[in-house]
Symmetry: C2
Subunit: 228 residues, 2 copies
């Protein structure tokens, strides 16, 4: 096998580890949110345990990326691909951490008195998960349009998070026995909002990878209540 062909196979391997990592992170988020909605302790615990998988894949991506940088002298576009792969793996690892946080809050909530339903959180999770999938799709297919569409979608998630914050605050003021559960829900909402931010970051990295131009920090300045 030629050295060049071997290099491209390794790049494909890097891509496929990232895709797998994204799938694992998304699965953890799904489990954590289901644990919350169905007050299911075992799914929350599984979401927490699975974090080790995502962490391990991050190290695999970093090792392979540094190996490829060391052994080859990649040209501009491959170089951007490899460095962005490292950034994306870092973002996915953080998605996994947010899933753990959601699962931990869900465990706190299992024993709390019921809180008025918040369909906004379910809608946020639906949007954030779709954004994460599309971000990875944009990466795999080098799809700049899909990547650039993530910023405006993130604004919608931010808006929902601000609504959750206000609604929960009102419930807490009406009935102080709801303060503990209300806090947990706000923290969950923030974690979901951050997952959407991370999907948007990945989209920015995809644009840089494909076109070598930066759209980072372009969508900032939109204030988020309790933004993180």
């Amino acid at each position: 096998m030629t050295r060049q062909r071997h290099f491209h196979e390794e790049l494909d391997r890097l891509k496929s580890i990232l895709v797998r990592m994204a799938g694992e992170a998304e699965e953890s988020v799904r489990l954590a949110v289901e644990a919350l909605l169905e007050r299911d302790r075992s799914r929350a615990e599984r979401a927490i345990e699975r974090d080790a998988i995502v962490d391990r894949l991050e190290l695999e991506v970093d090792d392979l990326a540094i190996h490829l940088l060391a052994l080859q002298q990649p040209l501009a576009r491959d170089l951007r691909f490899i460095t962005m792969a490292m950034k994306i793996s870092n973002d996915l690892e953080r998605v996994g951490d947010h899933a753990v946080n959601i699962a931990q809050e869900a465990l706190e909530l299992i024993d709390a008195p019921p809180f008025p339903a918040l369909p906004e959180i379910e809608e946020m999770v639906r949007l954030a998960s779709a954004m994460l999938r599309d971000a990875l799709d944009a990466f795999v297919r080098s799809d700049v349009d899909l990547a650039e569409g993530l910023g405006p979608r993130d604004d919608r998630v931010d808006e929902l998070h601000n609504n959750v914050f206000r609604i929960v605050l009102t419930h807490m003021m009406e009935d102080p026995r709801r303060i503990g559960a209300g806090m947990d829900l706000i923290l969950i909402s923030r974690n979901v909002e951050r997952i959407a931010d991370l999907a948007t970051n990945i989209g920015e990295d995809v644009v840089f990878m494909v076109e070598g131009r930066t759209i980072k920090h372009q969508f900032e300045g939109i204030e988020t209540i309790g933004g993180d």
Copy 2:
């Protein structure tokens, strides 16, 4: 000038941009926290405006790093230095974002009724700022001992954050008029706790840079209430 000498000057330049970036991020955190403690709107606004400086420096680091990877074929240690510089700049950019969040919460708090003093938050800020300085020092001097000491220091910040969470929750339950301000304080505490996490991440990257071994994810499993 030889190509090799030029390369090492560029590595030094990368290092000095990162040091400057860390200083700017730390200054933003300082302003944001002073704004909180002294209910000073103008310092909060300055902390928010300054974020553009940190963002710009992140792009400078990334550009220079990719340029160095493209033009040279760095050996193992330089390669680790350059890739870790990109990771550290990403972490510092997030420190800047946390400073903005603290400043935004401080602005919310300016008009709120006074809340019982929380010396724990001041102590957290003191510890987190020192950790950030030491993380950059460890990077500049390739000091593995200093870098590895950050994990245990982070545990102390986590512990303080958990205390703040419990104390504020108690105040909120005693007097529901304090719910809004209490929420803001918990979010501030979480942002400070995250700054300490980021300093710890930088320490992990320094160990990897110097020794090529990974201590990442080693300190995990310590549960944090409302961790992010």
